[in-house]
Symmetry: none
Subunit: 423 residues, 2 copies
């Protein structure tokens, strides 16, 4: 099956937002075994949009449009598609009722503009949108499939996952060759070192293929296998994953969609540990990440953002003398913060971060990006010094990743091992 993605929105053509939808959809379609040969971006202009739809209709079996389903006058995707296909727009009363509920919930009046979001081309299946007012739609006609999705990624992605993928799977039926991917996520290892360790796997790859991808805060290894049956593809992936884990297993913190914070949460639950966090330069980001995980209240107790020295002293019991002698950014203060927050929260673990996020506040001795991470465990307290690169946002983000990975390494027994290697 040949697929094509059309992104609709003048804001994309003005370069005001990056088109992440096309990337996301391309990847998902590839995983379904659908070949994407073209993606096009076009503005909120009916004649040019119609022209692009006509071209897609002519050369592809599946056309996915994103954007232009909003309530405003320049949202014209539904109207243009209906016009191109010669279909009437018909009111869906259950969608309308749902729209009224949404507005009632928000305590806002529904305007006349919103009503157009309840109209769909005759014969379209409505795709519900739990995250916004723009329902999507899917239509089969002339042997082709067309799907309309809202533009905002937080509405588009859940709708595609929940409503579109299952429908496409059942339409594709048995003919399809299965493509399965596996992402292994690593932290604490550089791209070129990783490539050296995996050289033989990278050079002799066939099926599965293996690729490295450096992300801002982690390294990804992407394994992709093709087979006639899902089971066979999974087996190919599992075999290669086993080899990779033998070589660099201790750096792998998660796989596929799992995040660092989910991996840490899982490890805490497995070991029956609870945690409190004292943050200086990360400003709350570690607590935020830990609580992105549903059920995190089972292991996360206290977060203290001690942005001032007084907070470090009065709440965490850090000795003023320690701060004056070694400075707020020091291994000694990091240790004292970790011990203090562990006691305050009466948790098994106390995690602390203190560092210099920049752009100001650095010195020759203590440059921007210097970050100490400490973990109090009741017995030993572990501390590590890190030099992180990047602007303020990136230093904060990397510091939170270092700290969460520190907890994972401790729980998985890799903490001392990796330290020795690095030192």
């Amino acid at each position: 099956m040949k697929g094509e993605i059309i992104s609709v929105g003048t804001e994309l053509l003005l370069g005001q937002i990056v088109n992440t939808n096309a990337c996301y959809l391309s990847e998902k379609l590839a995983n379904l075994g659908i070949d994407v040969y073209y993606t096009t971006t076009v503005g909120d202009n009916p004649s040019r949009l119609r022209e692009v739809i006509a071209l897609g209709w002519q050369r592809s079996d599946l056309v996915i449009l994103t954007g232009g389903l909003g309530p405003t006058m320049d949202d014209l995707t539904r109207e243009t598609l209906a016009d191109f296909l010669g279909l009437e727009l018909i009111l869906d009363t259950s969608v309308l009722a749902n729209l009224r509920c949404i507005f009632a919930d928000r305590g806002r009046e529904m305007t006349k503009n919103n009503i157009k979001q309840a109209y769909f081309p005759a014969g379209a299946q409505v795709l519900p949108n739990p995250n916004g007012t723009a329902a999507g739609m899917m239509l089969q006609r002339e042997g082709r499939i067309v799907v309309l999705l809202p533009g905002p990624p937080f509405e588009m992605v859940p709708m595609f996952e929940k409503e579109v993928i299952p429908r496409l799977r059942s339409l594709l039926g048995k003919d399809q060759q299965v493509i399965k991917s596996r992402i292994l996520k690593l932290y604490g290892i550089g791209e070129s070192y990783l490539e050296t360790v995996l050289q033989s796997l990278l050079e002799n790859q066939g099926n599965p293929t293996l690729a490295t991808l450096a992300k801002e805060n982690e390294m990804h290894l992407r394994l992709t296998a093709k087979a006639d049956l899902p089971q066979a593809a999974q087996e190919l992936l599992a075999e290669m994953e086993g080899e990779i884990r033998r070589l660099v297993g201790k750096y792998i913190f998660a796989a596929d969609d799992e995040t660092m914070e989910e991996a840490v949460g899982k490890a805490l639950l497995e070991k029956g540990k609870t945690i409190s966090v004292a943050e200086s330069c990360t400003g709350g980001l570690i607590g935020h990440r830990l609580t992105e995980v549903a059920g995190s209240s089972d292991y996360f107790r206290y977060g203290i953002v001690s942005y001032s020295n007084e907070a470090k002293q009065s709440l965490l019991g850090v000795e003023p003398q320690l701060i004056s002698q070694y400075g707020a950014v020091s291994s000694q203060v990091a240790e004292a913060m970790a011990v203090g927050v562990r006691e305050l929260g009466s948790t098994s673990l106390g995690l602390a971060v203190t560092g210099i996020a920049g752009p100001g506040g650095g010195s020759t001795d203590k440059p921007v990006g210097l970050v100490y991470v400490a973990l109090a465990t009741g017995g030993r307290t572990y501390v590590e010094r890190n030099n992180l690169r990047g602007p303020r946002r990136v230093v904060k983000s990397r510091a939170s990743q270092v700290a969460l990975n520190f907890v994972r390494r401790y729980l998985q027994g890799y903490l001392e091992e990796i330290k020795e290697e690095n030192g």
Copy 2:
């Protein structure tokens, strides 16, 4: 002048990398006054690439291609373009000499493949690439301009800035119009209500144009003006912005690149106020956002993530009875948390959030998404109840936005006014 961007690369169609080049070039072309009506992505396939080039040649005055200038077999952009235009590829000896130097510098042998990077269609101007081996090119023919640029952004961007922009400027000559944009960011107002209020501006727009854009956490209004001179474009923008501010000024929290947290930080500094934050369902996100701003230590003191009831009681001094009588998610507890954290931090303001992020923990009375925000000011303590929609991540994100906007509204004197309208 009509421009068109063609991104070449199978990795883009597989969703392995996000196409930031198209976004970058779109914005730059818009600023030059060149209208971009289409951007297309196509793989490293000569027949489909040729088809896309042909389409661009037919409908645009300027076609910019990125990617496919590398040394490997699947890099075919130069060959395909030359073939389409019926032009011979001619060796540029100075580019070849430069390639030899690059390889000598790196201590590597130059492969035969690399030699093709020294061939250019007859009549092309070579665009040097100080950051890689793939030189770009620019060609004028049949009243059209075609530009070929390398795919990696760190090679493409400097080449575009240094080699392409000056050439385009001189080709555009005096005819060129300046395009200036202004983004106004609003919170607390729905898209359709905003459109109703701005109806006359939206319907009678000409120059500047005006468009609404719904983001996950905010509404954007985009004003775009064209004029012969930058000053005139700015004046057109300022006039329309004035009208918009008269109509919906209290919802506007920032403009252009400014974020909510920057706006709040600026307002705190202006009023000489300091702030401490007690977070329950947001888990540290508000502290994280406040500390994304350089210099935030001037006004942000304490952050307490009181994920457990004990933390609310022991650190923030919330009466246990209040929690047992009204529940941890209640206006009473929100108020007590705000008062408690203000005292703990000895700051002018205490901000507190308590709510149900989901997916679990909701009930009929207190559904997922119920979030109370409270602001203790020393005098009055303000509280607001919000019903936020979306999955856990989105509820947290929206709760942080509601809370920061609450502070902004208080500091700008809009707090009571907006409450009355909504209530």
